[in-house]
Symmetry: D3
């Protein structure tokens, strides 16, 4: 997204937080006062969306120093951003910028944790997010996933084919669904199918699917699917994604298997924010 587009998005967040004005600040803080303030991480984390927030703050007329880069792991107490400028502007924007950074850094931190966990047992497997993102925040959440080292997966319904259970129920069979999709989808889009049995996985591969998502299967079932595909010489032709109920507790059981992608919805839909605060470190009176 162009920086100016992201800027406008964040401006609408600011507008949500002050439909008229920041009554407290407008009453208490004279126009001439400036401050220097720092955004401080109150726990170890991977910071995300600092670039976006910095651009936004500059556009509001503040001077900004980024003290960390997107993707950096910072320690508890580390300052990640320093802003200098109108106290009114800084205090008015405080909550909005913290909400974005805390949320996105929370996602990036969790993704990074999963990626590092998984890499210990399988250097080839990817950790991916899903479309279980919070409404209106997909750009930020998918970006945080990428910053954390994860795979963004589909950005929207418009950018790849993913045939799900409800589609198959209506079309009638996995083969038929894949056949139609291969014939009608643009040649630039891959075709993925969600299956819940090894049989359907094989059918999907034979029908020409590019990616097979094994939904809610136990590790042992997943292993069997991979085995079946290898046996039939189909394993090379498809990517295998496992999904459904995967958490830090059980992810290694899947990571050890012959799969290409592990996707987790909780990363975005149940994300845990990183605690951060904005501390005024200097008051500058003109």
């Amino acid at each position: 997204m162009a920086e100016e587009v992201v800027y406008r998005k964040i401006l609408s967040f600011l507008e949500e937080d002050a439909p008229f004005w920041d009554t407290t600040t407008d009453i208490l803080i004279p126009k001439g006062v400036a401050v220097r303030a720092r955004v401080v991480a109150k726990q170890r984390c991977v910071v995300a969306c600092l670039d976006d927030v910095s651009y936004f703050l500059k556009r509001l007329g503040l001077e900004v120093k980024q003290l960390a880069r997107d993707g950096d792991t910072v320690e508890e107490g580390a300052a990640v951003l320093e802003v200098t400028g109108s106290a009114r502007v800084v205090l008015g924007v405080e909550r909005t910028l913290l909400n974005i950074l805390m949320h996105c850094s929370g996602i990036a931190t969790e993704v990074r944790k999963l990626v590092e966990l998984v890499r210990r047992v399988n250097s080839r497997v990817r950790v991916a997010a899903t479309r279980k993102t919070l409404p209106g925040l997909r750009y930020f959440e998918k970006k945080a996933v990428a910053i954390g080292g994860g795979d963004t997966h589909r950005l929207s319904l418009s950018d790849a084919i993913l045939i799900k259970d409800n589609h198959i129920r209506i079309v009638g069979s996995v083969e038929e669904a894949v056949k139609i999709a291969k014939a009608s989808a643009s040649f630039v889009h891959k075709v993925e199918v969600e299956v819940s049995t090894p049989e359907d996985a094989v059918k999907a591969a034979e029908s020409g699917a590019d990616i097979i998502m094994l939904d809610n299967m136990k590790p042992s079932e997943v292993a069997r699917v991979a085995e079946e595909l290898r046996k039939r010489g189909l394993r090379e032709r498809v990517l295998l994604e496992v999904s459904g109920g995967i958490t830090p507790d059980n992810i290694l059981e899947y990571a050890k298997l012959d799969v290409d992608v592990i996707s987790c919805g909780y990363i975005t839909i149940s994300s845990r924010a990183v605690d951060m605060s904005l501390d005024v470190v200097e008051v500058i009176r003109k």
Copy 2:
């Protein structure tokens, strides 16, 4: 928010999920096919924002039956909504509606849990949310808080005065800040002050603050503040809010005290979604 305004907001979420179209569904599902589908809660929860989602679905031309009401506690496996209509529309909107319901119900469920916990020891104290909401979602999150039985607290920077640490740092003292605010704020708005020491709490009450927020104080300190205020005959004149690091683990320690409000930021900024799915229960071919 007028239903039509909420409708437009949700439509923009749908647009985010399909900047062009739902390629998969448009390719696989013929226009004439209709389905009956149910939204099913996959865990016990308090459902929230069903009204908003139902209105939205009706506006898209679907027939909707609400099988639960906002605020109801439903059991694992309970269907909360039934929609009938164009399969293309239902599948295209599936993820968007689930993301909203899962997120809002997650918040309402957590709030309800806290409210019930707290009531056991203090029937008078309120559980409140903060402005740590996810950008763009304040309406939905504050509404979920109210549905769960919590207090919404300030909806925005425009609807009450809340003097925070950074304001006081610039103004110079609690008393001065409260004095200015009382003089300049509209008579319809209350004046709240955040303090971190018992001394400042007393000063705030003496200066005429309507609400005092005790930030990051230990239960023992909070008790001392209340005691001080009572001693000086100030306790009746103010509401006491405690805030900062309060979780289900320590909330009862605060609830037992002579406080009016306990506020928790994690409810909204680190909310955990309720798992739900949309199941097609009937395919209707014309």
Copy 3:
């Protein structure tokens, strides 16, 4: 409202005035020509929203000198703003900026007049606006009220409780309505009730309302209400607002009484613009 948000609002006003372009100016004025021009008040007035307009003009690339500050009283013939830059831009924006300044200064001037009038007899009473504002202009009108020295009253339906006649008609009684509101409103919001009889005023105070609005009462009735409340020891607990048909002609009769707030709808809904013009004082050809 963040300056950038106000800027976008004014830009939409400009767009309304030129859905395609300013045909006259584009045809007559060559691109290279610059002008220095002044906004001149053609009558004594309190200027308002100069800051907002100046920020807007700077964003359009003009050099701006504010020759007065928001809230200043300026004499007939005084220049309040000087802009220098592209003649095309200046002429294209002339009407839009004048319409805003003339309207807002008209409101501020009227408010200031009322405030000064009232202060002569009662230094404690406030003059307040209402929600009778022109659609789309609430930010500007409420700001002009504040600049004039008035109280903004509720900014919107979301920022305080105001129980009106129609609410009471549905709920059944003043007491019941106040009781419900006190139980359900957020602790940060005050509860105000509109009453039209002294009896209801007493009931409202007894039920715990924070503010009582005496609607369309004669001064003698208002006096009786205050007396009744004092007698019962309730006067200290509530703020008294008088409203309905109050104009410069009768405002002193109310101001003399024991009331806290006098609100007038005409200030915003029937405001009289201050006459201003934009005069080109120098043509600069490159």
Copy 4:
């Protein structure tokens, strides 16, 4: 404007009045309650924009009966609109709809008064508005002018050429400005020139202007201009508009002259609202 476009505009006004929700109504009024309510004019007036408001209310799900038509003169106490439906919706929209109707009817009433005044002495002259409209409300204000029987004049900078003093100052002379405009303006657009001396009026007519606006001229000067033009056989070729400081007090002096149009800025920029109220006449409990 398409009804749906006007609907969206009014919806944005509603949003301005309730950035989150109508706290009072949502707390006090149960969902099941319906009301029948009437909009009543509290003074004699010409009603305007009833069609637009009615369409809007229908789109919010209310049943609407128009008891008067746009342009009707109604007596004090007359009901102009009856709405039936959800009490929550009716009360939530009350202020917004009243603000529109009061403002627009105020404009239409004033315009009608001027038109009737003028007609007594000159059946051919038109009363016109200007571009001194309140930002964001041009559609509504110009429509109210037309409903009152006035001429809308230019709707925007894009729909006719109007050469003003500042343009002439830059171009150098009236003749040169008219010449350029005639050569470059689209053949579908008329060319009007504002002049302040009889000499310039003659020059403008000789140069081919379609309309001449006599700005801030005394009646005697206007008479002289008309005489000059007649003498030179130019009167038939142009329309004469008088403008600047014209009020009900002096309008007849201009109306008696040989002019085609009298335009008044105060109609829109200093309009006086008609008093109206929304009265609940029946509470319907399900």
Copy 5:
């Protein structure tokens, strides 16, 4: 349109092309890399909308040199624009800027061709566009027409009266329609009528129409209309526009006649783009 309004419009085009981000560029191009690039016309053409595009690119932070001006005829291979700045920004915006310039220059080039063709036989006749413009692009297309030397004709339905066949069918007759329009249209707006027979053309002129559009008439019929009007002394009072099926192949047959305007819908609705490319001429690594 104010430059900032055009900027926002183009930004929305950019958003259409990257609902999330430019995946390719974000992956391949490091943030620190800058480029110098040129927009090159790959065929002889009249360039249009360079000003608008340049302003847009500057607002995105790029340094811009215009190497041609709007309306210039440039030869095959000519560079018209040079931009220097972040490679990410340049590549992300490449397609959007080319699509605008190619489209608008295509229109301007075709208009210029027609204008020059027509001038050879009639120096007084104008070539005009119609309202057959591509949805959302009217500003750009009408501007390109003007840049090419054409007449923009009506910019929208709001800026002149044009009575068409369907209007007349409903009203009943040309005379009646013109009469109503003359009475009700603002004095600043001209009245044009579309007719398809010489008889109706005469009636329209007699009824006071300002412009008569002869729709889909053969040159011989058009000649007869002009003759009829001259005979009755009406020709001077009206402008004659011919329209319908006019192309470069037959335009001279119309241009030779006594008409004022020739309008062509194909210019905008079937425009042919000029081929242009953006070539990176230097890669600048920091």
Copy 6:
């Protein structure tokens, strides 16, 4: 795109055509008059976007009968749509709906022609559009391409990787660019590379590109690339797209070769509209 989203898009087009109102229609056509009207194709064509336009018209309150379906080939003179309802609404929307249908049907007709042409010599090759679409119209144009039987290619910069000449110039080599893209792109997105020499085509295939676009190559060169790839056993692993300067005149020379996709920019950027008109066939007076 959800129908409601498309509806809003078309509404904005209508707004562009009537920033205030349709002056002509509002003056001439009484509110009570209804019409039955038909959209008639004035030349043989493939109709496109009828569904979208029909939904829009229904939302404006008109009764709509689709007389053809998207993708149907209709003969000259065929009616494709019949609308019945308010004459004001029908005439106000006439130009907007025609502009959409004429443009989209023009694209679909051209695509269908190419597809049928190509099929005669190669049943496997696809005809694809590019991102050379008119700003703001990508949804409609890509949909028209699909309706005509073409491949939409990338919908936006966000939905597949396409490494172009400018990317390679910055990265340094085809191999490096493909390598980075394969490592960083999401597993759901394909990687396509644009090359202009047979050598680069081979390198791209060897590096793992999914699709190779041969840009501006002569048929003989394309044949050589295919041959090279077959020789090295790489042909099966990649899709071959040819692009650049392909028109109906030379498309068969490419179609005969061993390629998978032929893409043409002119389809959308230089499309030729189908002529259509809206004819009122019945006037219904109430």
